[in-house]
Amino acid sequence: MYSKELTKGTLQPIILALINTKGRMYGYEITQDVKRMTSGKIDISEGALYPILHKLEAKKVLETEKVFIGKRVRKYYKVTKEGKKMVETVTEEINDFIETLSLIFNPKPI
């Protein structure tokens, strides 16, 4: 599993990209999907997940849809129309970041 220090800055883009791809997701589902897709290498802690989701909701990047599961409420998060632009920007930035990192960690022989 990658260290928290390494994944910290990428959690928001990961969450955004995942919700955008799936359409709508709830908290537990996000943590499990990330774990499954990365074979357990990235484990989003609950303590980090909800502040990010609430922050993005306050910024109107995400919106929620409440569904009753028996007596309790399940909040599905989905990307707003305005949020789609942010997802694009963040995805481009992350891809660029990956390329930049590979310049340092996998330098081409001169």
């Binding site: 709830y26 908290g27 537990y28 802690s45 609950e46 303590g47 909800y50 502040p51 989701l53 609430h54 922050k55 306050a58 929620t64 409440k66 599961i69 028996g70 007596k71 309790r72 409420v73 399940r74 909040k75």
Partner: protein
Amino acid sequence: MELSEKHIAFIENSLALYGVENKDLKEDLVDHICTYIENQDADDFNMLYQQALQKFGGYTSFQNLQLETHHQKLAKQIITVNKLKFSAGFIVILLLVMSLVFQMMQWPYANAWILGAILISVLIILPAHFYANYKKSIHNYS
């Protein structure tokens, strides 16, 4: 494990005891803990609930989450207050400039503009400033 209404009520009450007051946050946490327990094969609710708490990082983590939510709410309020202070400050400057021009030109109502500027400062800018400081101090204390 399948959860009953009593189990859900227990989780809600314990979260309230751990200081989770925000409704949105509480809904998220209750559903998260419930889903975690429902996905486990064991039938011991207390054990599974403790496991779920540990996964969150214990009681302190709940308090931190609540604090984070308060902080986000506070940041939003502070931005609104700052916008109000900026707008009111702009009007005060405008009124003072108008008053100066009116005095130089010896036009009537020059004093009225000064009075308006003082009133806006005392009734809007100062209360907004003290309100923001008060909110910040409560947050820092918590």
